[in-house]
Amino acid sequence: MDINAYEITSHTVKNTYMKHLLLTLALIFFMFYIRAQNKKIDSLNNLIALSKTDTARINLLNAKANAYTENSLDSSISIAKMAVEKAKQVHYQKGEAAAYNILGTAYTYKGSFEPALYNYKIAEQLYRQAADSEGLNKVYRGYGMYYGMQSKYDSSIVFFQKNVDYDERNGREKDLTSAYQNIAVSYTMLSNYKQALFYQSKALHLAESRNDITAQAYINLNMGISYSNVHDYARAEALYKKAIQLAQQAQIKNVELYGYANISSAYEMLQRYQEMYDNATKAVLLGRQLGDDAIVASSLSRAAKALAYQKNFKEAEKMSMQSIAIADSAGTPMTVFQTMSDMGFIKKVQQQYQQAIQYYEKGFAALKDADMFDEQIGSAYSDLSACYEQQGLYKKALAAFKTATHISDSIRSRENIRKATELSMNYDFAKKEQAIKAEQDKQNAIAHARQLALIIGLGCTVVLIIGAVVAYRNKQKANVLLQHQKGKLEKTLTELKATQTQLIQSEKMASLGELTAGIAHEIQNPLNFVNNFSEVSQELLEEMEEQINAGNTQEARSISAEVRQNLQKILHHGKRADAIVKGMLQHSRKSTGQKELTDINALADEYLRLSYHGLRAKDKLFTTALQTDFDKSAVKINVVPQDVGRAFLNLFTNAFYAVRQKQKQLSTASYEPLVAVSTRKLENAVAISVRDNGNGISDEHVSKIFQPFFTTKPTGEGTGLGLSLSYDIITKEHGGTLTVQSQEGEYAEFIITLPA
């Protein structure tokens, strides 16, 4: 039942792996057992007709059902169900289990995971009862595929690992090769290239010892892809070359094709553009032979890009147009994206940014629904960003840049894995070499000539490793520099954010400071009454007792009335102090952001008093007339009282500041400062006006007045955030408006409207 393993990989490729990253690196897997499918089914039909025993018949039905899993899942399911029935009739438990296992596989391929799991479970149970470990191994393989197809690679690895253990224990080399490959696929999908390469090396070793050229071709290709993924293009190049050579030898055209396509990508990274072009062209020719439009389009596009690198723009554009046309009809989003963004690149290199932008945008539009992140997409975004910037579209440039950064950040986490991989890989290779050497030593006695060849081979590997280490060092240096710069930028950004937070906090504290002095005044006044009225009441009660003792009831009664009145006063002023403290707490408390029905008149009045007294506490000589005109019909409205209060406070403080400035400038005689606060009920809103007859605001300043950090106050006196915060509170938080009218030298009027 080797077939299963290969089917797993081929199907997994189709269903899950292909839609992931890897647009230039077309991962391919073992598929060569499947090609003979139709022939196999024909001969199976003959055998079924000739079979004499029930068990033989059931075995053959199962084989047929298994063969059908490749091209007709429904046929496979109905044949397997038939096999289940027949096996039950004759109590052939192993045959029944095998049929259930095939059902699980067929349903998994169909993407019907619920029935798949159900059938696998029955198969597992039956094999367990029969203590058939070989059968169980097959079910595990099924589970591995079942999880892999649902992108649950961790779970799939658990089961593929069981396959590896079983096959290793029982020396089933052929199965083991595919088990290694399967587990490597899952690790690749987890971006764990170290483990992927570990199993790929094992598979390669096995394939070499079995002299299986076909397997070697596939494994070399996949290993090349793994090395490309870790940016070790030198090693990748050698492996692709080997894969191409082996594929030619074994006549596996698709491996040869993918070999060309992938090595072309590697050459781009190695900046060897002529070789990039040559191999892309080979891929185009072979792709046409095999009728694979997607790879023809992407390879043509790659060749065009190679020409652009060599500054042959005319040919490059021509070829790129061709690739776009083919991609259009082939219709895979990835290919469309690749051809479009390559053309964008070609235009960008020629500084034709406008056109470049169009192509990039078309490319990204093709990807719109596919949730994909890979380096190619990331670098296309940063290219697009550069084009926008050249065109002066800075906002778009920033957005594209952010996307690029976002992608590169998400790749960076993979990058860390890569780094670890590279370090440990050198170690793995050393170990592998040791193993090969040890084996070779044994064979030395048999063939001396071979040893010579091996030494040369080893020499080559060493050269490769040295090359790789040098390349890696250079890359690491560049990485360190980039990381350093990124770190610096991030630090600056963090500092800016912290400063901003601090400024906002200090604005809040400033407004709290303005309040506390007012609060002190407000609270000492009621306390004055509480203390004194209670003290005097004590005296009055003593006096009352004296009067009672003297039989002077009339007098006693009048004193008692006074005491009662005092107690009322104490209660009244106590409550007043209580309200002030509560108001203070409310202000210092972080805004809950909770809107509540609030009497806007009372709120305005409260903050007016607090801010006035607050200011007076700081500036003894300041005085102004206050005029309030509250519309009694203004109903309660839903606002966050602390926040609207803060906005009021800012407006009042500004008004007081304005009249105070004017008062300082003019002789006291002629000028009468006035701050007027009024409310009006509108149809669907309440308007609050704060008007002062101070110096007003110049036209020049009116336009900037709500901008953050704009202030006309001397340095240190204003943060320039008061009005901007107020503006945000009123407009953004409450959906109201905040406007200003002013005549310089005469007045300023701020009008808030809040929706009722």
Partner: protein, 128 residues
């Protein structure tokens, strides 16, 4: 009546009237003092203009809407020179700066709220 001291109390809090009348009920009953109340600086000035030289002592709050106690103090000290009435400032702000401002403007004394009437009475006695 010449023994009776007339004291003008200036405060925007209406309840000071009851408080002072109760606190000084014995002194009022015995004719030692006589209180007049004004609820703003402006009102106090009007009273002083109409009843010149009547009030020998003025007790004024500082924080009041409209004309502040300090402004009142300034005006009294400028305009009502002979004989200079004694002005005591009463305020909820007991800080040094406030005190200095009041003293610079010619305040004769400085008291803080909550008011200690025992101290106030002692100070009044010293005026004799």
């Amino acid at each position: 009546m010449s023994n009776t001291k007339k004291i003008l109390v200036v405060d925007d809090e209406q309840d000071v009237r009851i408080l002072f009348e109760q606190r000084f009920r014995k002194e009022i009953r015995s004719g030692l003092v006589n209180f007049v109340f004004a609820y703003s600086g402006e009102e106090a000035l009007r009273y002083l203009n109409q009843h010149e030289h009547e009030a020998v002592l003025i007790l004024s709050d500082i924080n009041m809407p409209g004309m502040s106690g300090l402004e009142l103090l300034k005006k009294i000290k400028q305009e009502h020179k002979e004989p200079p009435p004694v002005v005591m400032m009463i305020t909820a702000y007991g800080d040094n700066e406030n005190y200095q401002t009041a003293v610079n403007l010619g305040a004769d004394d400085f008291l803080t709220k909550p008011l200690d009437f025992t101290i106030l009475k002692e100070k009044l006695n010293l005026l004799n």
